[in-house]
Symmetry: C2
Subunit: 192 residues, 2 copies
């Protein structure tokens, strides 16, 4: 039986990431999970305007996305709990830079993407930053035959509904393939 929940966003889980930017000359990191992909090389960050990090993204037109593993859950949650106005979060991690120079990245995260800001969608309470991935770095340890293995990345998945962090499970089917088994079995070709 279906139950109506009201206007309840259930588009979860989403990956929890650490967003990096230079704010007032210093690397700052905040944790968010309201992220998305817009086209293959473009990502979005839905960031409440209260975040200190937003100022740095607007000023430099660059940011980084760092994917922490479950081992970094305390550091990640900390970065979401406390503002860079009050805490020096850059001391939690070792920072490195890529070609953009103003998108600080976290050495301890196995995946790092430096991004150029290409658009902003303005909501009353949120800045939605749209970025183009400029360059991606990963730990050699998460590569298998040149492809990132997400079981090794071990990301922190977020569900708002229960306010918990979840692990990634195992892979179980091949995309753009397993559905071929249904072709011509259940669905008639439309007459034209």
């Amino acid at each position: 039986m279906k139950v109506e929940l009201g206007a309840k966003n259930c588009l979860y889980p989403l990956p929890t990431v650490l967003v990096g930017a230079i704010v007032n000359g210093k690397p700052n990191y905040t944790a968010i999970a309201h992220v998305g992909i817009m086209e293959p090389n473009a990502v979005s960050l839905g960031m409440n305007k209260i975040h200190h990090t937003n100022q740095g993204i607007k000023a430099n037109k660059t940011f980084s996305i760092n994917i922490p593993s479950t081992k970094l859950v305390k550091e990640t949650d900390y970065c979401g709990l406390f503002s860079g106005r009050d805490k020096n979060k850059s001391e939690l991690f070792k920072t490195f830079f890529g070609k953009l120079k103003t998108a600080p990245m976290i050495e301890e995260c196995s995946i790092n993407m430096e991004c150029e800001l290409i658009n902003t969608v303005d909501f009353p309470s949120h800045d939605v930053f749209i970025g183009k991935v400029a360059s991606t770095f990963c730990d050699e340890a998460v590569l298998v035959d040149g492809t990132v293995d997400f079981s090794k990345v071990d990301p922190i998945l977020f569900v708002m509904n229960d306010r918990n962090y979840w692990r990634l499970g195992s892979k179980f089917a091949e995309a753009w393939n397993i559905g071929k088994e249904l072709d011509a079995r259940f669905v008639p070709k439309l007459s034209i």
Copy 2:
């Protein structure tokens, strides 16, 4: 050691959803995983312009997001493999409607959100539809004490890098809480 991968999007996994719209008077469903959250009640769909479904979203300014479980992986993948121009995908599922009347939803998916189109971001190859959740339905069976339990939803997570579908694992930490353990232990208060 860090390895540079070039401009490689690694913002995964994301939840695979079935997007519903009325196209030429008929419900149509397509599978996408390039989704996101912009602010708590606003979602985004990054949809290649080749999709048949895009026409219906533009015409009616409504769409639905349905979250299939791993048991529906063949049907879900099928909806991503084949276009509504060639196949009548509405015959795969039982359709129901909510208050928007033009956002067809899938009975067999345990979570359904009907959405109103509030903005579109135009990319060369993709329409990014931004929607406001108008109303959400769920199967009674996925509710525990009134909250959606994502282990019961059992969503299909997508990773583009290896082109596989993955399961959700288990929850392991409380958000906005576990990071408190680090407070005052590692990070000094900034001097003002």
